[in-house]
Amino acid sequence: MARRSGLEDTGPGLDLIPMLSVVVHLVPMLLLSVRFLALSQVPARGPVVSALDAPDKGSLSEQSKKVVSVEIDEMGFLVGGSPGLDPRIPCKGPCAPGTYDMDALGQALVTLKAAHPDENRVVIAPTGDVSFEVVAAVMAAAREDWSSGKARALFPEPLLAVRK
């Protein structure tokens, strides 16, 4: 009869080695593939069919004095809702996602909020060629003012217009 070694005498324990091997492979794989992102959600409403291309421009100009709106086109922003404000905010260069003047738009929106303190909605009307990056930046700027380092609510209910 063969003698048993001392290791065999310890009895059947839980064999952790395969599990540990899996974990050791899994952890570096996850660490290599990990990308830390802080995601947020920007709520929006709509779409509203924009009358900005309608033929009756006279009544529209009267309407645009009352409705807070931001048009985005190939020349920059066109802000509506404040008679005393220069409505056109041009791009800092050839219009592209990085050249739209977001600082000037932020200041204009703060002025608009002061003129319409009870208004929560802003109509955002981009043209079809504007990239979503610019639209998202305008929505974020219209919802909150971060110029002081803290979020201050401006127009928390952006309405996206669709031109037909």
């Binding site: 947020s40 959600q41 929006a44 998202a136």
Partner: protein
């Protein structure tokens, strides 16, 4: 020396010999001490799995815009507008040309894209918001058609998923 003390000495000497023999038989480090390492890896794994979000798609065709926005999340159906496709709850429902524009075979009408409209109308939870993750390069004409399709399908509560810079 009495017989009794001699017996005690013999027993002590035998015990000491037995202990020495036992010490000689035992290896110095019989097992790899993996308990603390297992603990550490288990904690790291639990941390990674807790913060793993299957909704985040790290694909070149879906680069979210980075904007300063406060955090706030709701659950809902997920619509991805990538540069090469529109994906609803993980299912590719419409192909795009790789630059976020329609293929020639797609003809949107005044209420959006007909096929997308029917897909959105068939969502299992119409009361939940529609979470739209849109690539930053997609032109607004496509986003507008998606919104029109959602509106025609009865979905008016939607939220755009963005990367927060705050």
């Amino acid at each position: 020396m009495t017989a009794a003390t001699g017996g005690v000495d013999r027993r002590r000497a035998a015990a000491a010999r037995k202990e020495r023999r036992a010490r000689r038989r035992l290896p110095e480090n019989p097992y790899l001490q993996i308990t603390s390492m297992t603990d550490m890896f288990t904690l790291i794994l639990a941390f990674l799995l807790t913060f793993y979000d299957p909704n985040v798609v790290d694909a070149p065709s879906l680069v979210l815009p980075a904007v300063p926005a406060s955090a706030g999340e709701k659950q809902g159906s997920r619509l991805e507008i990538r540069t090469d496709a529109i994906v609803l709850n993980g299912v590719r429902v419409l192909s795009l040309d790789g630059h976020g524009r329609y293929l020639p075979s797609t003809t949107p009408d005044s209420a959006g894209v007909p096929s997308l409209r029917s897909d959105l109308a068939a969502l299992p939870n119409p009361g939940q918001p529609l979470l739209i993750a849109c690539d930053k390069a997609v032109p607004y004409s496509v986003v507008g058609d998606v919104l029109s399709s959602a509106h025609a399908a009865g979905v008016d509560d939607y939220r755009f998923v963005v990367e927060s810079t705050r």
